[in-house]
Structure formats: structure tokens, C-alpha cells
Symmetry: D2
Subunit: 259 residues, 4 copies
């Protein structure tokens, strides 16, 4: 499989994961290891920046995965920019997953504020990975202002509804010149596989792994599904054909030939 490249960094795995909702730091660690993920996002809110004893950050750093701080909880561009700068300092990385969601119920992203923040952060030297609605024009704009990838949603965060935005993801995938990472709503390995089959460059999964009865096993399932989806994409899937006409010879001819 061809590797994925974002901002000159190569990733062997096309499965990105989160750190929220796990029952324990151990469960999280095991699960991330099983997922094979090389990029792990974590909310600034979840870090205890003033203490050395942080039980989320330490195991992640030991794993050697790339950390991707996110601005989850930010309600506008200003908060997101501030959080990004805080994260850069704390985690020593200029990568940021930009999340701005003023909506407390469905955590739907705010496209206008995201575009404003993206532009500002890119000027400040950040590698910006924006979480957005599956809006083709917005994704294009974010690409134009210098985002290194776009992260359109599949369905509302935590909903497990999969690729509800599919027809719009198709347009985004057709038009994008940067990697497209489907984020949010992926509830099962089949959703992840489908995203990759459609041509998505990667998926980000969190809830479906963290709240599974067996998080570690589920993470492995997602790893396999993402590999399956990418492999299928590279192997040339057939078209759906409702009118598949078949020219099978009836068995009678065969039976006749025997006698």
C-alpha cells in the first residue's frame, strides 16, 4: 500500500485515533497499540499541563506515536487559536487538529470560524488539520488557505451513524488536492473500510473503539478494516450494476453433453 503523506510526514497506518471516553489509561494504551495508529489526537482539556504525572500524556509519549493536539471545546476562532498556541508550547508540536463547535448538542463544526482560525494559524506556522462539515466548497477554501489536509465529518460525533454525508464526501474526494481524512461518526469497521474504498486517505476513529465492550479487540478490527479498504481501493473495485446481465449456460447443456 502506498504510504500517506501529510506535511512531508509519512504514515504507514491510515487509521488515526483519539484518546477520549476510555475507561482507563491502560485501556487506552492497549487499544491504541492494537490499532496500529501512528497519529493520536488528544484534547488540550484532558491534559494536566502543570504536573509531570499526567496519565494520558506519558503513555502516549512512550508509545512513540505522533501527538496531534486538538482544540475540542473551542467555540470560536479566537479560543481555538489560543488553545493551539498553548498546545504547541506544551507538546512541542506545530500540528493541530482544528475543532470549533459552538453547538453543544451535536458538536457540529463552525465552518466560518474554522476558516478564519485556519488562516491565522497557518500564518503562525502551524500544520492545520481542520474538522469540518462535509462541505465541498469549504474544503476547497481550506485547501486554498494552506491546510495540509481536510477532515470532513461522516456523521455527528459519537453517533456511530457512519458515512451519512457520503454523496458530499464523494465530491470532496473528487476535488481535493490534499489528503482527505474522514472524521466523526465512524461506528463500525465496515464504515472505515467504506471510507477508504471511496478514496479517503485516512479515517479518524475514537468513540467506536473506546466504548466497545472489548476496546483492544475492536481497535484491531478497525486496523484490519482500514487496511482492507485501502487495499481494495488500490486493487480496483468493480461498479455496482443493478442490471448485471448474465450469460450462464444452463446445466442442461452440460448434462446433455455428458450423456
Amino acid at each position: 500500500m502506498t504510504p500517506l503523506i501529510i506535511a512531508d510526514q509519512e504514515f504507514g497506518s491510515r487509521l488515526f485515533v483519539g484518546t477520549g471516553k476510555y475507561a482507563s489509561a491502560e485501556a487506552m494504551t492497549e487499544s491504541i497499540l492494537a490499532s496500529g495508529a501512528e497519529l493520536v489526537t488528544l484534547s488540550l482539556r484532558r491534559l494536566d499541563l502543570q504536573h509531570q504525572t499526567d496519565n494520558i500524556l506519558k503513555p502516549l509519549q512512550r508509545m512513540g506515536v505522533k501527538l496531534l493536539p486538538n482544540t475540542s471545546g473551542a467555540r470560536n476562532a479566537q479560543e481555538a487559536i489560543f488553545a493551539s498556541e498553548l498546545a504547541r508550547e506544551a507538546l512541542q508540536t506545530n500540528w493541530v487538529k482544528l475543532e470549533i463547535h459552538p453547538d453543544p448538542r451535536y458538536l457540529m463544526p463552525d465552518g466560518n470560524e474554522t476558516l478564519v482560525a485556519a488562516e491565522a494559524l497557518i500564518k503562525k506556522g502551524f500544520v492545520v488539520m481542520p474538522y469540518v462539515h462535509a462541505d465541498p466548497v469549504l474544503c476547497k477554501r481550506l485547501e486554498e488557505v494552506g491546510c495540509q489536509c481536510v477532515m470532513p465529518l461522516g456523521s455527528p460525533i459519537g453517533s456511530n451513524m457512519g458515512l451519512a454525508s457520503r454523496p458530499f464526501l464523494d465530491i470532496i474526494l473528487e476535488q481535493a488536492n490534499v489528503p482527505v481524512i474522514v472524521d466523526a461518526g465512524i461506528g463500525a469497521p465496515s464504515d472505515a473500510s467504506l471510507a477508504l474504498e471511496m478514496g479517503a486517505d485516512a479515517v479518524l476513529v475514537n468513540t467506536a473503539m473506546a466504548v466497545a465492550k472489548q476496546p483492544k479487540q475492536m481497535s484491531k478490527a478497525f486496523r484490519l478494516a482500514v487496511e482492507a479498504g485501502r487495499l481494495a481501493y488500490e486493487s480496483g473495485l468493480g461498479e455496482k450494476r443493478f442490471d448485471a446481465a448474465h450469460a450462464t449456460s444452463p446445466l442442461t447443456e452440460f448434462i446433455g453433453a455428458l450423456s
Copy 2:
């Protein structure tokens, strides 16, 4: 993962494959090896029973996979029974995939003739694996007459339309006491994964592998997806929740706490 058992035989792989539509016997062999399948179905029509030099059968026998002759092309119970007996003699197996499809266009199965043939074949000592419409009552009847599994279709053969019959498969899965193998229409790894996630015991895939641009790679993709789907099923998938309510603390509180 728990192994699959059909008629006292254990299968490590939950991916069953076919032998049709490959460009060559070599492509078929490579592809089946990559799929990891342990059960391979082949049409009686495709065998050259009178000659030792058959280029389909020989490589399959060398691979050590279990051969499952099918009655593809049979238009009624009588033809299917005759073909089954012929296959038993030729391939030295009492297993048969029962396919009766009088419809030359969509190859949709004939439930009534299938039930008649299944009963007759079971009396003759066959292990019968019937390919049928996703009809819950028919599947129950086939189980009652002694079929060792049922093989409801996902969508028309060769259509790549996936699990079009999903709501009916759900009922079949809920009611079955024998393994349920989704057969026909599975066009992508995501379809295969979804079937397993729903609780299907196995899937049978042929066209999607055989006509891929890279059949070998595609077969590997299906292998991974089937493992992913089964693993996810055993790991406890979450529910789809449109109304996922979230109690995330806004970033402002966090930022306030810092200052």
C-alpha cells in the same frame, strides 16, 4: 475469534470463495491463496470430468481447501439433484451448494424448488448449503428439513450492490439455529465486514475478487475485512445514536483555570 462449524467441520476462515470469472487458473489460485479461504465452491459445469488434465480442479486439490460443488445452472429440483449426485461421485464429497435459478437475467433463486431439492438431497445423505432469497420463513423451513446452514443473498449475483436485503437478513440472523452465510452481491470489503458485524457467520464472495484489477490484492482485502467484521461482532459494537447528547466542558473553563 471463535471458529465456524458446519456439519461438524471447523473452519478457521469465515470467507468462502468461488472459482468463476477469473482470467486464468493461475489468477484464481493466487487469489484463493491470498483470501485464506478454506472452502471453495465450483460449478459442476466448469469441470472437465472426463479428463485428468482439468486446470481448475487440480490446483484446488493441491491447495488442500475443501471443495464445495454447486448446482449453478440448474433450473429445477430435478436438475439440481442430478447434478449433486454427479458431483458427489466426481469430487468424492457429500457437500453441495444448492443453487436453483430459473431466471436467466438476475439468477434469482427459486425457493420452492430449492426446498424440494434440499429435502431430497438430505435424505440421500448430502450436507446441503442452499442459496436462497433473504426470506426468513424459507430459511426457517430449510433449517427444519435438515440444511446445515442457509445462504441468503445480499443482492443479485454479480451486482456488487452489497446488503440490499439487510432488514430481512437481520430477521434471518435473529431466528436461525444454523450458520447463516451471506451469498451473492457482496461487492466490496465493507459489505463483507458489515455482514459479519451484523452477526452473519460467513460470507461467500466471488465476482468482486475475480474481476478486480488486482484479484490477489483484492482477495487479501476481503480476508482482512472478514476478520475485522467478525472481531467487531465479538467485541461488542455500539448502537447508532442519532441523538448522541454530549456533555463536553467548553474550553473556556479550561482556559480560565489556567489563568
Copy 3:
């Protein structure tokens, strides 16, 4: 709109309705009137055949609609045949809606028993309207033995899930030479309209009307939707085109032309 003809009888309305689940006989009567239906099915079980004071039958007879007794509750061909003969005598009609569902949970129909019963009833002079799974081969067989129409299901009875069987209904519609009436599962006017747009000759609706908060209004809504769907079918619907390319002239040209 072209009228619908079943067994030489012409129907102005393509909406058939049931009589079950209404809060009262009055609610049923009002609702059926609002639906404009000319064919009304009723279960033999719901009639008090020994008394003149039946409060279901009387208002239906006064309305002048055609009564279609059904064999709901029959678990095999024998019971259905017996019920049909009873109904013929009691209601003085040789029409029967043949329903055989051994499954008490989802009321899924039994195709094999239905075919047996249909053949027997047709020999006895009945006009048989069989409720069946959306099984293309079975529908063809029923047509061949002399059924005057077929009634494939959209989704499980009472589920409101609409046309879950859509890809199979499409095949049935393509192949049928008798009217196809979609029965069961139609939960909203949009489902009914869609069935007619696809080319179904009629729909049968009961639960969605009877359990609505305002049954009379809902019945009117279904009447309008069925008319809309048929009208659209006859008016030539466009294809779904994901790749709709557009050659719209930009506004700038227009603005330029003004100056």
C-alpha cells in the same frame, strides 16, 4: 391517470386499505372515506359472522367499497383455503387476499404454502391476491399459476420501514405481467408515492393510517401521495445523476453585458 384493472374490475384509486388497528368503527369509516379507497381488505377473524350486528362489516357495505377478505392468521395452505371458502360464503365474493404467515413475530409470509394455496384456490374459482416476500421468482410462479396480481412486501408488517425491499421490487416490476401491489411496511405518504413512482400498480396501507394521531387526515395524505406517485410515473421522471454537469453562465458575464 390510467385506471387499474384486476380480474376485469376497474379501480379509480390505486390505494387499497385495511381495517385493523382503528380505535373505533367510526374512526375506520371516516378514514376509509378520506382515503378514497375502492378496495378494502378485512380479516375473516374480525367478523362476527353469526350476528347481524357486526360493526365492521355493516359500515363497509354501506360505503359501497369492494370487500377483500384476507386469510390473516392462517399458518399453512390448508387453513388459508378453508378460511377463503368461509369468506366466500359469508361475504359473497370470490376475491381473496391470501396471507399465510407461520411466523408470529414478523408475520413474514410463507412462499411455499402460498403457492400451494394459490393453485388450489384458483382451481376453485377464486381471484387470488397473494401477499408474499419480494421474491422475483415466487412472484413469477404465482403469476404462472393464475394469480391476478401479486402483493410483495415493502418491509415487515407494521414496521413503517417503507420500501426496504426496493431492489427486489424493481426486478419484480420489470418482470411482472400482472399488477404489482406493494403491501406491508408502508409507513408514510412518501413511501407510497415512491412505490407508485417506481411503477407499482397500487399500494395497500393499513397501520400507518390506523395508528396516526389523526387517522382521517393521514388517510387523505396517503390518497394525495398515491395520486402524486402515479401521476409522476406517467409524466416521466428524470434519472438520478450524481454527475450532473452544469453549464451555467456566471453572473459576471451578465453584469458585464449591462455596463
Copy 4:
């Protein structure tokens, strides 16, 4: 049915229509009359403002429908504002359907520019009806700046793909305090009915009517479907219930009771 009110104006019909793609002005006129629409949108580009002999405008004015100029073809806020002012002068109306789509292929709307233009136009005294992606946060923002309604898309313009954005429309409908009019992609009466059943306040349809083989009949079909959908919404639709359990008494009891 309760009437629809936008900016203090009451509409008896919840079907809004367009004027594009008709074979002739006569076909357009007939079709709009058959649709019962009281609001008709037309592109500024399609008007011959310098001549009295315009063959689109005149018949519309004679019909007495409310004209809603749109800014179709505008690629940014500036162009859209200019076009709106031109339209206000030419058509003597301060209503405008705000369309900004820099994407020439799918005509997907630009949310950021739309928000900018909406704010500016509202300050200039316009009643702004913005065509936007089905983006819940954007719809909320447009409401906050004073838009009198929002017009989220169902699917790409002219695609006939229906309510592809359904899960997001559901969120918009739940959160909106202004009328929600589903615009673009509605390809069949069933789509229109579904939108109204979901709680949309109105739909705008153009292509599906204009390119039908019988535009006049198709327009009538949409009129009926919109009425059906609204009526159903007001009448209380039932839930979809996959697990509909049924307590039907078997026919045998009934038969037993007879003997």
C-alpha cells in the same frame, strides 16, 4: 393545514418553484399554474431587463405569484449583493434568494460568502432566503444575522438525488426558529413528501418539473405530494419499528370457535 409565514407574508402553498430549464415560456407558465406555487424564483440572468417584451417575466406577473429573484451565477458576496440590488430595482421586491456558488460543476454553495452577503443585504433592508449546504451551524448563524428562512440543500442541484443530506436536515429542523425550505436535488414527489413529513416548512423544486416528459402533470404531482407530506406531518406519523411485535390471534382459534 397551517399556512406558512415568511417575513409576515403568508403562503397557502408549501411548494416553491423555479423557472429554469423549461422548453418554452408556455410550458413554464402551464407548469407553474399546475403546481399551485405562490412563490416563484427566477435568475436575474434570465431577464431581459432592457426590454418590455421579456417572455419570462410577463407571464409570471400576470399569474400574480410572488417573484423571488435569485443571484444564481454569483461567485462571491460582492457579486451577489450587486445582483440583489439590481433585482430589487428591476422587479420592485426586496426579497432575494441568495445563491453563491463558485463551483461550476456541482453548484455547491459557499457558506462563508453567503453569510457575509446575507448580513450586508439584511442591513440594506432585504428579506434574505439563503441557499446553503445542509450545515446546522451555518443555518443557525444565518438565522442569527436576520435571515427570514434558510434553504439547505437536499443534494446537488439538478441531481434528482433527493434528501441525501437527511441526517443533517433533521438537526437543522430541530434547531431552527425560522422556516426551513429544502432546496436542490428534489427529484420526485416522494422526495418532496418526505421533506415535509420530516418537518420542513416548504420545498423548492425546479429541474424535476421542468425536464419531465409532461411538465404540467409532473407539477401537479409535486403539488399533491407536498400537500400529502404536510398533512402527514400534522397528522402524527408513527415511528419506524423494526421490532414490531405482533399479538395476532391465529386463525385456528377462530376456526375452532366456529365449529
